[in-house]
């Protein structure tokens, strides 16, 4: 009510002042001063009411640590309305706490942020279900494609995250499939270490190379690039238990350096029981600079090495070896406006593996020597809510050595390759509809896989932002 009076008096004053030019400046200034004084009084009185109410609240919940919430800065000489109305006191505390932790989208004191991503697709392949299940890449992996013709549910993935305290943030990523629940990631990451250091611990996706760190729903295509499938499996390295240390020095150019110690559970490159204790290690560097006002280049080498012991590399055999996988990633993004963008991305992987291979029938070990590589190149062009993608992947680019007892295996057979095209429609940030076509000639022998996939991705809840 008082405010209304003040407001009216100002309005009336303004009307008078504009119409009556004859009034001297001094008079007008005096009037203005008076108005301001009366307003200041009003504000002061209301501030007192607010203060007393705040005291009451503080008394009621004195153990509540969030009372350091910022006071609205009320300058007494300012014609400002009090920021909180007294009758809103119940709401006040909730809105204040929301502001303190509002970084992740509202108050997260009682509940962490939760989101669910549904990843579902229709698959039409020229191969029968049985052939898809058994479709390995000869000389690389015996693991088939976990896809059936017709309707498929890849996963419903839960993401949960929140700050633990001023020192840690916690993230968990729990995919649910028709086979059950698994924990892809569950890790804590430091937020307060000095000098640009950060430690991550728990179960997490490694930052070795590029696609490994991304969740399947964030991939630019339905499936992972061929070199990843050949050396690491259908989902890449996947979640690994371990610890990561990264350092972002304060340099003129973005340079991130990191190292990881991992348990080594990946059942294609390592193997759960290859050693008792951690047996996978990474080193990586990522660097980036702007190539123009609208474009950014991002690149980095990485290496993943450790002990291998599993039966998924060659049919009916166990490989026992030490392995090193070298990677190089490069990304160029051009984003001139919100409605247009282009991303070019390429990675190269090279595997060095030395040890023994044992046929499970004869239990007779032979020496094994592998030096194999692969790469992919992809481009995504965005126009409004549409995205168009093309990808080419290939194995045995420069290296194709698979020597068993000193003898090169599979001397014949074509070079494994695959070509992919995709069209996406994203009605909003939270829905993605993708139609993808694969011509997959990666099996060296047998027929190709010509495959069309219609994929639907939906996300609800508070989802953490994706990396560059």
């Amino acid at each position: 009510m008082r405010q209304l009076t003040c407001f009216l008096s100002v309005a009336i004053f303004c009307m008078f002042s504009t119409s009556a030019f004859a009034k001297s400046v001094e008079e007008r200034l005096n009037a203005l001063e008076n108005t301001l004084k009366s307003q200041a009084k009003t504000i002061e009185e209301q501030q007192k009411v607010i203060d007393s109410l705040k005291e009451e609240i503080a008394k009621q919940k004195s153990q509540e640590p969030l009372q350091k919430s910022p006071e609205p800065q009320q300058a007494s000489q300012e014609p400002a309305q009090p920021i909180e109305e007294p009758q809103q006191k119940a709401q006040e505390e909730s809105s204040l706490s929301a502001k303190v932790s509002g970084f992740f989208g509202g108050s997260v004191l009682s509940n962490p942020n939760i989101s669910l991503v549904l990843d579902t697709y229709y698959n039409a392949s020229t191969l029968k279900n049985n052939d898809l299940q058994n479709r390995g890449i000869s000389g690389y992996t015996t693991q088939g494609l976990d896809q059936r013709n017709g309707f498929n549910l890849r996963e419903a993935e839960f993401f949960i995250f929140a700050p633990v305290d001023p020192y840690f943030n916690l993230y968990a990523n729990i995919p649910i499939t028709t086979n059950g629940i698994s924990i892809e990631e569950a890790y804590a990451v430091t937020t307060s270490l000095p000098e640009g250091f950060q430690v991550k611990g728990g179960r997490f996706k490694s930052n070795f190379s590029r696609l490994d760190a991304q969740h399947p729903h964030a991939w630019d295509f339905f499936d992972i690039a061929l070199p990843y499938r050949a050396f690491l499996g259908n989902e890449g390295l996947g979640g690994e238990n371990g610890v990561q240390l990264t350092w972002l020095p304060s340099l003129p150019v973005y340079t991130l350096l990191g190292a990881e110690v991992l348990q080594g559970e990946n059942d294609l490159l390592f193997g759960q029981d290859a050693r008792s204790g951690p047996h996978a290690f990474t080193f990586f560097a990522k660097s980036s600079f702007e190539t123009s006002d609208n474009s950014t280049f991002y690149f980095g080498p990485s290496v993943l090495f450790g002990t291998t012991k599993n039966t998924n590399i060659a049919p009916g055999s166990e490989v026992d070896a030490s392995s090193a996988l070298y990677g190089m990633e490069a990304v160029w993004k051009w984003k001139p406006s919100r409605d247009e963008g282009l991303t070019l991305q390429s990675e190269y992987l090279l595997l060095d593996q030395n040890g023994s291979i044992t046929s499970l029938g004869t239990l007779n070990p032979n020496s094994l020597q592998r030096r194999q590589d692969g790469f992919y190149l992809q481009g995504i062009y965005q126009l409004g809510r549409w995205r168009f993608g093309a990808r080419y992947d290939m194995l045995a680019l420069f290296a194709d050595t698979f020597k068993q007892a000193g003898v090169q295996q599979q001397p014949s057979g074509s070079t494994p390759w695959r070509a992919t095209g995709a069209i996406e429609f994203n009605p909003s940030e939270f829905t993605r509809i993708r139609l993808q076509y694969n011509h997959d000639a990666s099996s060296r022998f047998g027929s190709n896989n010509d495959q069309a996939i219609l994929q639907f991705l939906f996300g609800i809840g508070a989802h953490a932002a994706h990396n560059f």
Binding site: S192, S288, T296, N467
Partner: protein, 293 residues
């Protein structure tokens, strides 16, 4: 070899500019511009979002993370406007000075009378900000409140120059209030406008006009043909004074709507620097007000 790399890193680290003042990182151009008014030559300002960029659709780039790494204070709009990139920058920049709760984490919206708070929101309503409308920089009185909060924050971080910041604020506030009086002369009371996005609600509240309809059927959702048709019908009946739009969000749609209805399209800068002659907050607001005239 290792020594070489190490010495290279060390020399790079030492070669980085030895600027003694505060390193301010601002998300939006108007925030950077306001910080410059208060801090002048005692601070260096890095702005993450370009004036022409849609502030709702920003992607965290490594250069932004690097800026965050070097920041003494991070200033942002708040109200979840930066939710798509700022949490990532905060965590990835590995800078304990700017995390929430520290004096180097400055949320401008704390000093603002927020409007359009929603209690019951879901995403079927489009990209609604539940904490309230985040585009409060169109309100001169809010700018003044943020400026004062900013002054205190800078003075708190850099005690030695506290008086300098306070003096700068004083002269800024005096100049700003004088300009506010001029802007107040514009008579928009009771006028009706159509807007593309929920950008101008604070402007409407401060200058007493109404935004009756939106070209976007829901925030962040582009209009369908049916929605445009309905809008044309409505606009023929209600005869609004103009269609409010910004240069980089929805200009094409607004122009085609203007051509079909004969209602004039009013292009307003969305932020400091997004149109010619809007290089600081004064000229930005001048442009906004003179365009509405």
């Amino acid at each position: 070899m290792r020594k070489l790399v190490l010495s290279l890193i060390m020399s790079l680290a030492l070669a980085s500019p030895a600027f003694a003042g505060l390193n301010v990182v601002a998300t939006l151009p108007w925030i950077g511009s306001l910080a410059k008014e208060i801090g002048k030559d005692k601070i260096s300002v890095t702005t993450l979002v370009k004036p022409s960029q849609d502030p709702h659709m920003v992607e965290a780039k490594p250069s932004m993370i690097l800026a965050g790494r070097k920041a003494d204070i991070l200033m942002y709009d708040g109200l979840d406007l930066e939710i798509g990139y700022l949490p990532l920058i905060l965590e990835s920049s590995r800078n304990p000075k700017i995390v929430p709760g520290k004096p180097g984490n400055f949320d401008c919206s704390r000093f603002v009378n927020v409007i359009e708070k929603h209690t019951a929101v879901d995403r079927s309503m489009g990209d609604v900000h539940p904490l309230g409308n985040p585009h409060y920089h169109f309100s001169p009185s809010n700018i003044l409140r943020v400026a004062e909060g900013m002054t205190n924050a800078l003075a708190d971080l850099d005690r030695g120059n506290a008086d300098y910041y306070r003096a700068n604020f004083k002269s800024f506030a005096a100049k700003w209030k004088e300009r506010q009086n001029q802007w107040q002369h514009i008579n928009l009371r009771g006028k009706k406008f159509v807007a593309y996005h929920h950008f101008f609600e604070y402007l409407a509240a401060e200058y007493g006009f109404r935004i009756t309809e939106y070209v976007e059927p829901k925030p962040g959702i582009p209009p369908s043909a049916a929605h445009i048709e309905r809008l044309i019908e409505d606009m023929k009946a209600s005869k609004p004074s103009g269609i409010l739009v910004t240069p980089s969000i929805g200009l094409k749609e607004a122009e085609s709507l203007g051509a079909k209805t004969g209602v004039k399209v009013i292009v307003l800068p969305q932020d400091v620097g997004s149109m010619k002659g809007t290089d600081d907050l004064f000229s930005f607001m001048d442009k906004v007000i003179s365009s509405l005239r």
